[in-house]
């Protein structure tokens, strides 16, 4: 739901200047780098997309490689510059920013915070005020189901794998939906997973995938671990790019130099919506912006020529069902989730 229920304090101070304000600044703070080919690059590209459709907004140089100990300082430096929107790439920022947000709510009412991949009801309990904050929470069940459909249709060996960088609720949801959707296509499909691969050790991705190929006959991988996914693709390629496939995430990277990638599940972090809300003065209150297949938050990327037209048609058909919420049920997903 996008209807704003912003608090009185931010309303009164913001609305006065809103109509006149002709330029806005946005800054992004991330724990990795913008070219990591995964999580942070996905955020960066979302931001760039949003900027294209929001000409009033300009972006500051992103703050990359932000260590835990510097997370709050980094936010504070943007607060000091009266940046209109400060984006934190992931829930790790949620716990670090409580103080900064509380201080800024008093001293810099025009500064807004957007934290991605965060559930405000469970992850922001120590916030004194949620007035200037919103979060983004994509519908990961949809993402997982989309990948699961592709995997289920592509696998020959009935064995699929998943690598996640960190064991987050979102990661678990993704995998559960992924496996549930694949099983929907063929109940005999087996899933392998690792949720703790981190985001940098590409060689771990290679070795892990090699093990799964050797011991479990895995032939389709879906990854959520940036550089580690590259390693996984490396192993798939070595095992034969004609029979081993990868589904990329969260950016669309299908292309000639990625022979194993058949398609990508693309996440858009709905930054444009946050910008709109700020312009209209409705931003805040600790609500969560959802990204889903309806609003373009979740999409499936291009297909490689390894995916036959036949399969593509089926994927389209199932995608509609996923969008409508009729393909996999919550129960089916949580049944798998409970076994992890």
């Amino acid at each position: 739901g996008g209807s704003g229920s912003s608090s009185s304090s931010s309303d009164s101070s913001a609305s006065g200047s809103d109509s006149e304000q002709s330029s806005y600044k946005v800054a992004m703070i991330m724990s990795g780098i913008i070219t990591d080919g995964g999580w942070d690059q996905g955020h960066y590209e979302s931001l760039k997309r949003a900027l294209e459709s929001h000409p009033k907004w300009t972006m500051l140089e992103p703050k990359e490689n932000t260590a835990d100990a510097d997370a709050a300082t980094a936010a504070q430096t943007y607060v000091d510059q009266d940046v209109d929107l400060i984006i934190g790439n992931g829930n790790q920022f949620a716990s670090d920013w409580a103080e900064v947000v509380a201080d800024a709510a008093d001293s810099h009412p025009k500064v807004h915070f957007l934290i991605t991949n965060t559930d405000p009801t469970t992850e922001m309990t120590d916030y004194e005020t949620l007035d200037p904050v919103e979060t983004v929470l994509p519908d990961f069940q949809q993402t997982g189901a989309l990948a699961g459909v592709v995997a289920g249709l592509m696998t020959q060996t009935k064995s699929i794998g998943f690598i996640g960088g960190m064991k987050l609720p979102s990661t678990i949801t993704k995998y559960s939906a992924y496996l549930a959707a694949a099983k929907k296509i063929d109940p005999s499909i087996q899933g392998q997973y690792n949720f703790e691969a981190g985001f940098t050790d590409a060689s771990l991705g290679t070795n892990l995938t090699q093990q799964w190929i050797a011991s479990n006959n895995v032939d389709v991988m879906w990854g959520d671990a940036s550089a580690v996914d590259n390693g996984a693709r490396q192993a798939l390629e070595a095992a034969g790019a004609d029979t081993h496939f990868d589904i990329a995430q969260p950016i669309d990277i299908v292309g000639a130099d990625q022979p194993t990638v058949v398609t990508s599940t693309v996440t858009d972090w709905m930054i444009g919506q946050a910008m709109d809300e700020i312009e209209s003065g409705s931003f805040g209150g600790g609500k969560a912006i959802t990204g889903n297949m309806d609003n373009g938050g979740i999409t499936l990327g291009k297909f490689s020529d390894k995916v036959s037209q036949d399969v593509q048609d089926k994927i389209k058909e199932y995608s509609e069902q996923i969008k409508a919420g009729t393909f996999v049920t919550d129960d089916e997903v949580s049944a798998i989730q409970n076994t992890l």
Partner: protein, 310 residues
């Protein structure tokens, strides 16, 4: 877990994982034999990984990438050499500074290289060369005889380095500089030159180890791709008692335990995998405890050398 099914893959991971560590550790053997403890391997490897990646991608010639990476490694290690040899600065903290500086330079370069053109994010890979016959030996064939040329070269380097230290005049001179530089100097050995040479070799080999990561392992560079391998290489030098063969054994052992870690992660998926991740480190310590290293290495290792000091 069916260990026998997993074993060939573990062995493959072992040989693959051992190569970057081996290369860096061989470099460190030269360095420490000349009395220079270079804790900055990690940083030099990062430079090597990035430059190898970028030049390989830019020129399309991976071997050129490797050579330029090694040159870059030498260059950054000259900073270390100048500080520790010419200025006699503390080796540990200089190395540490390299570990901060070098990856930052690499990251900066990567930003420039990829930031403007995201097509640059993925590079090319050296192809594996399967040795006919040998590569089909069960269990070990794929691990040992189906590798990239660079990996073969790394393994061939081991007997060469051993031969160098045993049978070359320069090898003896190298050792004398690490043992007693004042004595070496009185025999007309140019201690400073040997130390600089050691840094050149060390920088080149460590950078080659880093370049292996991007040219042979995965076709990408990420900040932090070295993942502590530089430190592991340091440990293997001690564990390998400053000898090429020992270093080979130690890096294979580490590679094996790392492969085992991954195999366990792959099969025991709901277990707390961080305990598997500890395995390579704990076993390095355990191995050190059992096969001990009372041998303390070159005597003047880590000490600055002032010529006119008494």
């Amino acid at each position: 877990m069916d260990f026998m099914t997993a074993l060939p893959t573990i062995l493959k991971a072992m040989t693959m994982g051992a190569v970057p560590i081996l290369l860096a550790a061989l470099g460190e053997v030269f360095s420490e034999r000349a009395g220079l403890v270079n804790i900055g391997l990690e940083g030099v490897m990062a430079i090597g990984a990035f430059v190898g990646f970028a030049v390989g991608k830019m020129t399309g010639n991976l071997w050129l990438g490797l050579v330029v990476a090694m040159l870059a490694g030498v260059l950054i290690n000259m900073l270390y050499a100048f500080c520790t040899v010419t200025l006699c600065a503390d080796q540990v903290v200089t190395g540490m500074a390299i570990n901060i500086l070098a990856p930052a330079i690499a990251l900066f370069g990567y930003n420039l290289f990829v930031g403007s053109n995201s097509a640059n994010a993925t590079g090319d890979q050296m192809a594996s060369i399967a040795i006919p016959g040998l590569s089909s030996i069960p269990f070990i064939g794929n691990a040992f005889f189906n590798q990239t040329l660079l990996a073969y070269l790394a393994f061939i380097l081991v007997p060469l380095v051993r031969y160098f230290f045993k049978h070359f005049r320069a090898g003896l001179s190298f050792r004398s500089v690490g043992e007693n530089p004042h004595a070496a100097e009185t025999l007309g050995i140019d201690v400073v030159r040997v130390k600089y040479l050691a840094c050149i070799v060390c920088g080149a080999l460590a950078a080659a180890g880093g370049a292996f990561l991007t040219l042979c392992y995965t076709p990408i560079y990420t900040d932090g791709i070295v993942m502590g391998r530089g430190f592991i290489a340091l440990a293997t030098v001690i564990f390998g008692r400053w000898s090429a063969l020992g270093v080979l054994g130690a890096s294979l052992l580490f590679g094996f335990f790392d492969g085992l870690n991954v195999a366990l992660q792959a099969q025991f998926q709901s277990a707390p995998v961080m305990f598997f991740k500890m395995i390579p480190y704990i076993f390095t310590i355990v191995a050190l405890i059992f096969f001990g290293s009372k041998h303390a290495g070159p005597k003047a290792n880590g000490q600055p050398y002032f010529r006119e000091q008494r």
